[in-house]
């Protein structure tokens, strides 16, 4: 019986951030990512899940195990119906910090993952998709 290749984790409270982290850690370990890559993926999902909680209040993390021309990867999508990001370009600028509590940590998160796509509309919500591929 094969294991699930997709699923989701609702993000509605602070506890859910850690639930998302744990789910991601299990998945990354299941796919045999190296320890540092596991840490990267978990950290990235922690940042993005936290964004949902902080800025939208509620949302969901979708996950799926992807296959692209034989390479296996983990795809995570963080979706919310919050206020949206008014200036995506600014948010993606490196140095638009996280440590100072400003910004959404997007440039740093992008650095940790292989791919990132941001779709957002002010007043409607935001969807951030990130992917990391297993290096052969």
């Amino acid at each position: 019986m094969s294991e699930a290749t997709q699923g989701n984790v609702p993000i509605q409270s602070e506890n859910d951030i850690i639930a998302a982290r744990r789910a991601v850690r299990d998945l990354a370990a299941r796919l045999s990512f190296g320890i540092t890559d596991v840490t990267r993926i978990v950290t990235a999902s922690s940042e993005l899940a936290r964004n949902i909680f902080l800025y939208a209040g509620a949302g969901v993390m979708w996950w799926s195990i992807s296959d692209r021309n034989g390479a296996v990867g983990l795809e995570l999508t963080f979706e919310d119906h919050g206020p949206g990001i008014p200036d995506v370009e600014l948010a993606m600028k490196p140095g638009y910090g996280t440590s100072r509590g400003l910004g959404f940590g997007l440039p740093g998160t992008k650095r940790l993952m292989d791919e990132m796509e941001v779709r957002t509309e002010v007043g409607k919500g935001t969807t951030v998709t990130v992917r990391k591929w297993l290096r052969k």
């Binding site: 190296g34 540092t36 296959d67 034989g70």
Partner: protein, 281 residues
């Protein structure tokens, strides 16, 4: 010489050595070492070449009429439905690496190409699969990767030269993958040897581009986060200039132009001193 006809603007040889066109194409399929088989859109095997017989172990009479799912090992995710869906939409599946199973029960690695079969009115009526056994190429590829990894480890060693100090001489350029592996190894080694100082020697680095510079800075920052001190040694004027041009702030980074000078700094930090045996310092 054979007659030449024209079809869609291409010259078509009208048979060869007495074989008609249909027989000629069939002979091509039969003579191939690759497994070539056709299936219906429901996944029922409708044709099975000699290569498929050899690869999977089923004779044509055993395979025809059977579902193609029988070739998928039990317990493996069954991608066949997804593949058929794509074919129905007119898409091809190229170089898809997966696992199939022989009649004997032995699973093996394959690369498959699946394309839609269209009838005279271009309607999709089936799917054609060409499968290649990649057990050997895959083994070679993995051996190559392993060898590359070994070379990597040899060419970016992390050496403990004294208690509390490691030296990592770089040779050549640092691409992203090399850099990641190197960083992990360096940090693990620092923890292993309980070192307080790490000398990163770039004497052997001919050119430094943005990416390498970024990796170097990341490495130094990571070493600091760990709780050790990093010293960049062997920084030649050309490299220093490049780093300055790239706007990389080396103010926080301790650098020295030679490994020897870096060693002096490290010994100082470890509160050690080298003195000659005849008493002179």
């Amino acid at each position: 010489m054979s007659n030449k006809g024209r079809l869609n603007g291409k010259a078509v040889v009208n048979g060869i050595e007495g074989l008609g066109m249909q027989a000629f194409l069939a002979a091509i399929v039969e003579s191939s070492d690759d497994a070539i088989y056709g299936k219906s859109l429901e996944g029922v095997i409708l044709s099975w070449n000699h290569g498929a017989e050899k690869m999977y172990g089923y004779t044509a009479s055993e395979a025809l009429g059977r579902p193609v799912g029988m070739l998928v090992p039990a317990g493996s995710p069954d991608e066949v439905p997804q593949i058929l869906e794509r074919v129905k939409r007119g898409e091809r599946v190229d170089h898809f690496e997966t696992v199939r199973v022989r009649k004997s029960g032995e699973p093996f690695d394959v690369s498959i190409n699946v394309s839609p079969i269209r009838d005279g009115s271009a309607k999709i009526v089936g799917a054609s699969t060409v499968a290649r056994d990649i057990t050997e190429p895959k083994r070679l590829r993995e051996a190559l990767t392993q060898r590359a990894k070994e070379i990597l480890e040899v060419s970016t060693p992390v050496l403990q030269v004294w208690e509390g100090m490691v030296v990592a001489p770089f040779i050549g350029t640092l691409d992203t993958q090399r850099a990641q592996q190197f960083m992990e190894r360096l940090l693990d080694r620092i923890v292993e040897t309980n070192s307080s100082v790490a000398l990163l020697d770039v004497t052997g680095v001919p050119a430094i581009d943005t990416r390498t510079a970024q990796h170097l800075i990341e490495t130094i920052t990571s070493v600091r986060l760990l709780g050790a001190q990093a010293v960049l040694t062997g920084v030649r004027p050309a490299i220093a200039q490049t780093l300055a041009h790239l706007g990389i702030n080396l103010a926080d980074v301790v650098t020295r132009s030679s490994l020897a000078a870096g060693l002096r700094v490290a010994l100082d930090a470890l509160n050690l001193k080298i003195s000659s045996q005849d008493g002179a310092a």
